[in-house]
Every structure is written in C-alpha cells, then in structure tokens.
C-alpha cells in the first residue's frame, strides 16, 4: 500500500476525478471581447422592470439584443444614472415619470463601454465580458467559449417577454 509522507502514515484521500478543463486561450478571450464590442452598438434598453419593496422601489433595465435579454442594469432614480452591478438602488417613492426615465436610460446606453478583458465561467462554459458606465461595472455579457456567439439570459428574456404587451 502506498503511504503518503507527512500524513501520519494514513492513506491519502482518493484523487479528485474531474473532467479536464476544456481548452481556453487568450485569443478566445480577445474574440469574446471583440464580439461584445460589436454587439454594444446594437443593444437597446428593454421595458423597465419595477420592483416594489417595503422601503421603496427599485428599477431594473434589461439589456436587449435582437429580442433577447442579455443582463439587467440597475437604474438609480435619485441620481438619474446607473447603479453598480450587485447594488440595486432603492428609492422611497410610489410613482415616477416612466417616460423621462426611459429617455434618460436611452441616453445612458450610449455611454456604455466594453471592458477590455473577460473572465471565464467553467460551469456555464462561457466568457463574461463586463460593460462599464463610468467607473461602475453595470452588466455582464456572456459569450460562448469560442468567443463567437452571445449567450442570452433566458430567465430574464422570459420575464421581459411576459411583460411586454
């Protein structure tokens, strides 16, 4: 029996049986970033998704491309801008002028820029390329492992298409 040194003579744990990671490269990441760089010219805001909470309301805006949703950005009513990803902004209000928020959001979408790097998510087998507004990262766009195809957020797409009519 093989004895593992440094373990008090006890046999070691069984080796981890993992699927070997599929190949990823700098070129694939660069291609994913380039795909999002082209895509950012075509994205449009979807219908406002208003969430009511006991301490106010928050507004999310889906990032839409060809009828599918890619991610949501948080809109901060109090500053008239986006809130960073991970921090939905809540405002104490019962109502708001949806028309002016929609037109402000359209302006803000023109200010989105692509961050020049991507992270890889093994479980989803895709790249994630951040979109930034000023110094905030506000959305993540998922791109297939080869960097060529955009991966929609199907749950959000379902939510948007159930509300659009």
């Amino acid at each position: 029996m093989e004895i593992i040194a440094g373990c008090g003579g006890l046999p070691g744990p069984p080796p981890l049986r993992r699927e070997p990671s599929r190949f990823v490269s700098q070129e694939m990441a660069a291609r994913a970033v380039e795909t999002v760089r082209v895509l950012v010219n075509y994205i449009v805001p979807g219908p406002l998704l208003v969430h009511r909470h006991p301490d106010g309301l928050s507004i999310d805006v889906p990032v839409m491309y060809n009828g599918v949703a890619l991610d949501r950005v948080h809109y901060d009513l109090s500053i008239g801008g986006f809130s960073p990803k991970g921090r939905p902004a809540r405002v104490l209000a019962d109502s708001f002028d949806a028309g002016s928020v929609e037109s402000r959001v359209r302006e803000l979408f023109g200010e989105l820029r692509v961050v020049d790097a991507a992270e890889f998510r093994e479980p989803e087998d895709c790249w994630v390329v951040p979109l930034a507004w000023g110094s905030f990262i506000v959305a993540h766009i998922r791109v297939s492992r080869d960097g060529g195809e955009v991966v929609p957020d199907r749950g959000l797409t379902a939510e948007v298409s159930s509300r659009v009519a």
Binding site: V50, N66, G67, V68, S103, G148, G155, S162, V164, A165
Partner: protein, 363 residues
C-alpha cells in the same frame, strides 16, 4: 407629471371583467353555456400559438433569424426589403406579436446604421408583421378565431388568403422603396449571433407542427395541454415567458364580444350578408375595438369567412388600436403613434382599396 404605475392594459382588463357578467346575462346565456361563450377551442389555440411564439424567442431561434439579414454591401432598400421578408416569415411561424417583439429592436438599429428615420423602419416592421400573418390560420389571433369557428381546414384557409397575401407583400416591397427613397449603399453590417438553445428550439418546432395538425383536426384544446406538458418537462422558461394576463384578457373579451354579438343578432340590430358589407364592417369595427374583438363579434354575425379574412387583417394596418402588434411595436420602439399613422397611411389606404377590388373579383 408623475405617471402612476398602472398600465392601460390593466384598466382594459378591469373594464372587460366588469362588463362580462352584465353582457353575459343580458344576452340570455345561462351558466352552463360558459364553455361555448368562452370559445374555449379558439382560446386554447390562441394560447398554444402564444406559447410557440415565446418558444421561438426564449430558444434564441427568432434572434438568429433576425441576424440573418445582415451582410455586406447592400443598398438600403435591399436591406430593408430583406428585413421586411424576414419579419413576414417570422410572423408566419411565430405570430405577428412574436415577430414584432424580435424585429422592432432590429428596426431601430437599422434606422441608425442606414441613417433612416426610425419611424420609417418601425413602420416597415409593423406593416410586415401584419402582412406576414395573413396567409396562415395560426399566425395571428383573428385568423385562429376564423379557422376554429368556421372549422375551415388549413389548405382552405391558405387558399382563400393567398391572393391578398401575395398582392400585399408585393405592394409592401414597392412601398418600402418609396419610404426609403433613392437608396445609398449600406456599409458592412456585422452582427454577432445569438447562441440557440437546441433542445428548446427542437421542442418549439415540434410543438408548432403537432399543434397545427391537431388544431386543424379540431383538437386545439388537446394540443394546448400537450404543449404545456412538453414545455414544463423541457423548458419552463417558455411557460414563464407566456403573458398569462393577456390570456385572461382574451378569455374576458370572448365573453364580452360573444355576448354582444348575440344581443346584436337577436334584436336584428346588425345584419351582415354580402362580402362587401363584411369587409366594410370588419375594417370599421376594428378601428373602434381592435381587430381581434371585431373578429369575435363578426364570426357570430356572418357566415362569410372568406371576406372576413381580408377585412380584419387589412384593418390591422390602420391605427395603433386596430392591431395589438402595432401597440406592442410602438411601445417598445418609442415611436409616436402619429408618426406611424403618417408613414403608413398611403399603404393602408391602398391596401384597403386593393383588398376591396380583389374581394369583388374573387367572389
């Protein structure tokens, strides 16, 4: 002025719910007539194809189709003509509302890339979605009601609708040229592809084919239940993406307008016999209550389904009210309804005249 977050559709829903019991009992229906008044067969088929249209969106199939028209070095007119044909094809398979959902954002992007007024591209998108949905009986709710209520087969329906569809399609391509003007050459339009979820895509195409076959045999209710079960097993996102409030609204509208039709026919307030009468009433009524409710009434008042097809479909071009696809498209595009009305009026008037002449020659 702050806008309270209550949609106009919620108000319509409440109004339809309040009116339903009044009209129902005033028309002399009894409680056990409800399944007939609800027109559960047509309602099931409408819900089935709403589900299919969502399947196309959630799977990414319709996005992929939208991206196919982007290429390089085409004239503005050719790009918009291809856009129009793509929208028509999508409307045929995934309903006019489903096509609008996907293709109107594309219209906005095309307007920017081709430097064309967004009201022009959105108008072309809406006219195309409504035109594409004329040919087949499952491509919009008014066709589904005619298909199910008159027990017409798919080939019979398509044969009756084909002359209007072909003529309106050609007319729209010419009108697109008029709207765009002398086209300049578009630059290279690179467009990233959306990843398609293959299991949902295959399921959706299968549900579409099986749904058409079963609905054509008068088994639309069974087809809807089957589609629900299949989507729950394969991809629940499709179920979540369904607009269930819209389904409820359709149910209430069936009760309202079937009851109203009974009151009108029992008191001989409205008698519609000739094809021309059906055509004129169909177009006029659609402007007041939209083309789907107009169809709900007219199917109970006339046996002339062949005249009803062009009437309620061509009526949908006219105003935002006359077709729900127009309402959805204008809402997601932000284009003013007046701008749409101005850009579409010449096509609408020509389509009404051409449709009337064709109806006269055809019958």
């Amino acid at each position: 002025m702050p806008r309270v977050i209550v949609s106009s559709r919620s108000l319509v829903l409440v109004l339809a719910a309040l009116v339903a019991p009044v009209l129902y009992f005033a028309s002399g229906y009894r409680v056990n007539d409800l399944p007939w008044v609800l027109d559960y067969k047509s309602l099931s088929v409408i819900m089935l194809f709403l589900l299919v249209s969502r399947g196309f969106v959630v799977s990414g199939l319709s996005s992929r189709a939208a991206g196919a028209l982007f290429g390089s070095g085409r004239s503005n007119w050719l790009v918009l003509a291809l856009y129009s044909l793509s929208t028509m094809t999508l409307a045929m398979l995934a309903t006019n509302d489903g096509a609008v959902l996907v293709m109107i954002p594309v219209a906005l992007e095309l307007s920017r890339l081709l430097e064309v007024d967004p009201a022009v591209t959105v108008t072309i998108g809406l006219l195309s979605a409504n035109t594409g949905s004329i040919l087949l009986p499952f491509s919009n709710p008014q066709n589904i009601i005619i298909w199910q209520d008159y027990s017409v087969t798919l080939p019979e329906f398509a044969e009756a609708a084909a002359p209007y569809f072909i003529l309106l399609l050609l007319l729209l391509l010419v009108y697109t040229k008029l709207l765009v003007g002398p086209g300049k050459r578009a630059g290279k339009l690179v467009h990233p592809r959306v990843k398609v979820n293959s299991s949902t895509a295959v399921t959706t195409v299968t549900v579409l084919l099986v749904g058409v076959a079963l609905s054509d045999m008068g088994m639309g209710f069974h087809a809807f239940i089957l589609a629900l079960i299949v989507y729950i097993a394969v991809d629940r996102y499709v179920i979540f993406s369904m607009d269930w409030m819209l389904a409820l609204l359709f149910a209430l509208l069936f009760v309202d307008f079937n009851s109203a039709a009974r009151i009108l026919s029992s008191h001989e307030i409205l008698s519609i016999q000739s094809p021309l009468q059906v055509y004129i009433y169909g177009i006029a009524l659609s402007q007041a209550v939209s083309n789907v409710p107009a169809t709900m009434i007219l199917v109970k008042l006339t046996g002339n389904w062949k005249a009803l097809i062009p009437a309620v479909n061509i009526a949908g071009y006219a105003t935002p009210v006359s077709s729900m696809a127009n309402l959805i498209g204008l809402r997601i595009s932000g284009v003013e309804w007046r701008a749409y009305a101005v850009k579409s009026v010449l096509y609408t008037v020509t389509a009404i005249v051409v449709g009337g002449v064709l109806l006269f020659l055809y019958h």
